[in-house]
């Protein structure tokens, strides 16, 4: 349910087309953040990680949007008012995207719930014999092992540093070569882990999705429908504000 809502929300971010609807969008994002009670510092950090991508798109938009009212021209670069608008809009759009996905999915949802959601959303595909359960299981396992692998990389890196590998100097080729002593042990231990995990799962009689029941069956509550309703209202508001076409429209 949450998954559907966040997909809807993302669609809305792309529907926003003018100043008013963008204001509404930003307002809703801030409100959501406040409700979720995630420490602002963590949110800022997740934004910072993608800062480069954001700035890059903004600059591209700034430079390559052609409009009628030229703001200023420098050498062969013309900056149009439209470009500024679209750059700002793009920035806000990406920001809200990141905020909403991290908000809905990574910070407030457990990976298990997430894969459960994916499994149930994809379940219609079972008709065409897609192994939906296996798919979701694979995702859960992959998610589960990301931190483990990161920790492992850290350890192996330290061990090789202790043996005199230098990762921080030298040319590109030298640095790439320094990665070999990291990657080989990493892959080997990943394979070994996969093997062990498969064995452990078999030992506990795992044999795929057929006839499996869930430990936590999630039901739709009234609050879910309220949320859906609000989402629909929000979408409608965005569309309406777009139609008003005040100020500037893309």
């Amino acid at each position: 349910m949450k998954l559907i809502l966040s997909i809807l929300y993302i669609v809305c971010t792309f529907l926003c087309k003018n100043v008013l609807s963008f204001a509404l969008l930003l307002l809703s994002a801030v409100l959501l953040l406040l409700i979720s009670r995630i420490p602002p510092r963590i949110v800022l950090r997740s934004l910072r990680a993608l800062l480069f991508v954001m700035l890059f798109t903004a600059v591209l938009n700034l430079l390559f949007t052609k409009g009628e009212t030229e703001l200023f021209a420098f050498w062969r670069i013309h900056v149009y008012v439209e470009g500024v608008y679209s750059a700002v809009f793009m920035l806000v759009r990406i920001m809200v995207l990141i905020l909403s996905t991290s908000l809905f999915l990574t910070y407030t949802t457990t990976p298990i719930a997430l894969t459960d959601a994916i499994e149930s959303l994809l379940s219609p595909l079972r008709v065409v014999h897609l192994p939906v359960h296996e798919f979701a299981m694979m995702m859960t396992i992959a998610l589960r092992f990301i931190p483990t692998l990161m920790e492992e990389t850290d350890k192996i890196m330290n061990a090789q540093k202790a043996r005199g590998v230098d990762f921080s100097s030298g040319g590109l080729i030298k640095r790439a070569k320094a990665l070999i002593p990291i990657l080989i042990p990493l892959f080997i231990s990943a394979f070994r882990r996969a093997d062990e995990l498969a064995m452990a799962m078999e030992c506990r009689c795992y044999r795929g999705g057929k006839g499996r029941t869930k430990m936590r069956v999630s039901h739709l509550h009234a609050s879910d429908f309220v949320a859906l309703l609000m989402m629909v209202l929000f979408g409608a508001a965005v569309l309406y504000l777009n139609r008003l076409g005040l100020f500037y429209t893309l």
Binding site: P39, E152, K155, I156, N158, A159, Q160, K161, A162, R163, G164, V165, D166, I180, P181, I184, P185, I188, S189
Partner: protein, 282 residues
């Protein structure tokens, strides 16, 4: 010969997040040169963190790490040189093997030092002999060896750099008694033959008693006790208060003494007890 000193060192994991963990809290310590020092303590008492500070893998949050009196962070560009002088074998080092043959893997460290081939092969042979790896194993792939053999190969890989300070994090964990003995004896032999300072982290009081000259007891991110083996083991009561214990054979010797058997005070190994009892019986 080299002395390692920690001055008021503290270290915090995850600084600035809600999950801050103080792994070391104002630790001051001098490890005497040319001796084997054991570091013992409960899970999570900060042992691994401490040894990673010794060769500059981690930077202390406060305080200084000194090697022969010089701060190792004084010139971070020189860290590689420091790491050749302070060789660290991490916990479960067998997962760091990657070369095609054991020989090439042991040679990896010395090769990074820029030594010539002749010297490298000499050191590889020497290091393999220290840990008791048979020469015919050297041409095998690291992944065809048993766990204990892999462990020995990984330790040899650091010994081959001939560090002045050899630091090992739980070198004998998870091995059978014979495997432990081979490794620990090899490490001690390395120290004696090269005059290097050796630091061993371990959980086992028995191993410490048998192979270490000095012992440091860690408890909740602090140094709880430090001194020679006899000094530390004479504080049996304090050790018990942090959940550690003197070796079982020491308990036995104390019991025997109470019953009137004239044994000396400091008996920490089964061999020592055996020898004492034998002379008494004769």
């Amino acid at each position: 010969m080299a002395t390692v000193t920690l001055e008021h060192v503290s270290y915090i994991y995850g600084k600035g997040t809600p999950f801050e963990i103080k792994a070391l809290d104002d630790v001051s310590l001098t490890v005497k040169s040319g001796r084997v020092t054991g570091i013992i303590g409960h899970t999570g008492s900060g042992k691994s963190t401490m040894v990673q500070l010794l060769n500059g893998l981690e930077k202390p949050e406060g305080g200084r790490v000194l090697l022969d009196g010089a701060d190792i962070w004084e010139n971070p560009k020189n860290m590689q040189a420091i790491r050749f002088r302070v060789g660290l074998v991490m916990q479960y080092p067998e997962y760091q093997l990657f070369e095609e043959t054991i020989e090439a893997d042991i040679a990896f460290g010395p090769r990074n030092m820029g030594l010539d081939e002749e010297e490298i092969s000499k050191r590889v042979r020497e290091a393999a002999a220290f840990v008791g790896l048979e020469p015919e194993l050297l041409q095998k792939s690291p992944f065809d060896l048993s766990g204990g053999q892999k462990r020995r190969a990984a330790i040899a890989g650091v010994m081959a750099m001939r560090p002045e300070v050899l630091v090992l994090d739980e070198p004998a964990a998870g091995l059978d008694p014979r495997g432990r003995d081979i490794i620990l004896r090899g490490i001690r032999e390395y120290g004696e033959r090269t005059g290097s300072t050796v630091i061993i982290v371990s959980h086992s009081m028995e191993d410490m008693a048998a192979y270490c000259d000095d012992i440091v007891v860690m408890y909740q991110a602090k140094v709880f006790l430090a001194g020679t083996r006899d000094e530390v083991f004479s504080h049996a009561g304090e050790l018990a208060s942090v959940g550690l214990d003197v070796p079982q054979i020491t308990h036995l010797a104390l019991l025997l003494k109470k019953r009137g058997v004239p044994l000396p005070d400091a008996i920490y190994t089964v061999e020592a007890a055996r020898d004492c009892l034998r002379t008494l019986l004769q």
